[in-house]
């Protein structure tokens, strides 16, 4: 589903992504971990097209998307959520989701019918809200949602794009233990044919969700392997989990 080869990006003299390669089969669930500043979010920004790499290629389902702008990559089947909530704060939950659905279905160009009367869009929006546990909040203004609910909406928006590959950037960032549990269940319940790539700080989440883990440090791939291999890896213990481990 995703083939990344030799990806490189520097800001000035600072090399933030250094020869990163990744390969995700369809339906794979993988995670990227690494200390702060390891280049995880930069890697996501390169994958989603917000940044252009200096070198390397990104292939999505066999298609070279390295040069495509972000919106075309979404059409090609890649969607992402953001580490910091990145929402439409002037809309209700229903409006934001229906807007996202309209974009997915090419109905955002429709100017001859009212948006509020577009039944199909709003029904799909309601189902999306339900799938992330926001069914009760449909008519709530996004800015009045609790932080945890906003994180859930963040995922629902990405799902509205009906991606084949979903990038989740720290879905549990800033959440209470309870909210983290909810989010974990939500992610575990995503359709099995959806390929997932996850950045996460919460190691419990990572070790439970991911089948394979890539460890980044200073922009380089340190180790790739199964959760067990990563747990046992001496290098990872030393550099990432701390000297004490």
């Amino acid at each position: 589903m995703l083939e990344v080869a030799g990806l490189r990006k520097s800001f000035g003299s600072l090399l933030v992504t250094d020869d990163v390669s990744l390969s995700l089969a369809a339906g794979a669930r993988e995670a990227v971990i690494g200390p702060n500043g390891a280049g995880k979010t930069t890697l996501f920004n390169l994958l989603s097209g917000e940044l252009r790499p200096d070198a390397g290629t990104i292939r999505l389902a066999g298609r070279d998307v390295t040069r495509l702008p972000p919106d075309r990559r979404v059409t090609a089947g890649l969607a992402r959520s953001f580490q910091r909530n990145n929402l439409f704060l002037g809309m209700t939950v229903a409006e934001s989701l229906a807007t996202a659905v309209a974009l997915r279905r090419g109905e955002s160009r429709v100017f001859w019918r009212p948006f509020a009367g577009a039944r199909a869009l709003h029904e799909r929006a309601a189902r999306l809200a339900e799938s992330v546990g926001l069914a009760e909040r449909l008519q709530t203004d996004v800015r009045h949602l609790s932080y945890g609910s906003q994180r859930q909406l963040e995922i629902a928006l990405a799902l509205a794009a009906e991606p084949r590959l979903l990038l989740l950037d720290e879905p549990t960032a800033g959440m209470s233990p309870e909210e983290t549990k909810t989010m974990q269940r939500l992610i575990a319940g995503l359709p099995r044919d959806l390929t997932l790539l996850l950045i996460e700080h919460d190691m419990d989440v990572v070790f439970e969700m991911a089948e394979r883990i890539t460890v980044l440090d200073y922009g380089r791939v340190l180790v790739q392997g199964t959760p067990d291999e990563i747990r046992r890896s001496a290098v990872v213990k030393q550099i990432y989990l701390g000297e004490a481990g």
Binding site: S48, E50, P69, P70, D71, R72, V74, T75, A79, R80, F82, N86, L87, F88, L89, G90, M91, T92, E95, S96, A98, T99, A100, A102, L103, R104, E107, S108, R109, V110, F111, W112, R113, P114, F115, A116, A118, L121, R137, L138, Q139, T140, D141, H144, L157, A158, A160, A161
Partner: protein
């Protein structure tokens, strides 16, 4: 959502109804006020579509008025086209220049966007000020109004012309209301609220911005053509940045991002201008002071302020917890 705005209908009925009644009954001097209000309302509605809905704060919107007016003058006066056809051609020119200028200026944002829109519109003004064919900075008179005699309308009669202008202003309002409530309008709002997120949902943001420019440009060009029809005179001043600035003031004071706000703003602007002008030649000082006072007292504009007052009193909906 309509349920959240109980004010628009009564306010608009009052304003449009009042202006229409005025068009029917007032004397010749006051008729010029009515016409001025109607044309300004069309202009600021198109500007509000850009500023308040697409989030594109253009400081050069009067340039499109210039395009509409000069295209009409050229085609009708020099090429002998019937005025009606020439007006439509002027609107098409407005849309095309909206596409061209939109494609250029949406590559930059923030202050640069404002400056580029200003610069492009002033290029048009500079050209018009030197265009001998159009009387350069003296302007060109002797232009004609549209001939609607087959419809039984004599536009050379100012009262008829005023009524037609008011009806056109109402139609412009309905056009934009229809657009902003569509999925297309909703997408523009999404881009305005969070461009980055809209893009991450697959939205080709720039194309939407260019489309917004084309629509706003077309309607502003129409306002320019109507302005020419009113004065029967074309002058570079129609495209001057002061007009763009006045448009922004009207939109902001009235309430950007609402369509009712600019209608209120346009109405008040012309009335205030005419009243203060009769006391002092320095009317712009008073306009400036009033602008500052309103922006301080009502950051969302007059209509935005009214709406939030009404909403605070009204019981909240079940989902607003």
């Amino acid at each position: 959502m309509p349920a959240r705005d109980p004010l628009s209908l009564p306010v608009l009925a009052l304003l449009f109804g009042g202006v229409l009644a005025a068009a029917l009954f007032v004397d010749a001097y006051r008729l010029t006020i009515v016409i001025e209000i109607a044309i300004l309302v069309i202009f600021v509605l198109s500007l509000d579509f850009l500023v308040g809905y697409a989030g594109l704060v253009s400081f050069g919107h009067a340039g499109f008025m210039g395009v509409g007016a000069y295209a009409l003058a050229y085609l009708a006066h020099f090429q002998g086209w019937p005025s009606g056809v020439a007006i439509l051609a002027g609107v098409a020119c407005g849309a095309l220049s909206g596409i061209a200028i939109g494609a250029l200026v949406t590559r930059v944002s923030g202050v640069f966007f404002i400056m580029v829109t200003l610069a492009v519109s002033m290029m048009f003004w500079a050209w018009a000020s030197k265009a001998r064919k159009f009387g350069a900075d003296d302007g060109l008179g002797g232009l004609k109004r549209m001939d609607l005699k087959p419809l039984g309308l004599d536009l050379n009669d100012d009262r008829t012309f005023a009524v037609v202008c008011v009806v056109l202003a109402v139609l412009a309002y309905l056009l934009f209301r229809w657009l902003v409530r569509s999925p297309f309008g909703q997408t523009l709002k999404a881009i305005k609220q969070n461009e980055n997120r809209a893009r991450a949902l697959g939205c080709p943001v720039q194309r939407y911005k260019v489309a917004a420019f084309a629509i706003a440009g077309a309607v502003a060009a129409f306002a320019g053509a109507l302005h020419l029809q009113n004065t029967k005179f074309v002058h570079p001043e129609v495209a001057h940045w002061i007009r763009s600035g006045e448009g922004l003031i009207v939109v902001i004071v009235g309430g950007a991002g609402t369509l009712t706000g600019p209608v209120i703003g346009g109405f008040l602007f012309v009335l205030f201008h005419r009243i203060v002008e009769s006391f002092t030649t320095h009317w712009q000082i008073w306009m400036g002071l009033l602008f500052v006072a309103i922006v301080l007292a009502a950051p969302d504009g007059i209509f935005g302020r009214l709406l939030s007052l009404v909403r605070r009193k009204a019981p909240k909906g079940p989902g607003d917890a």
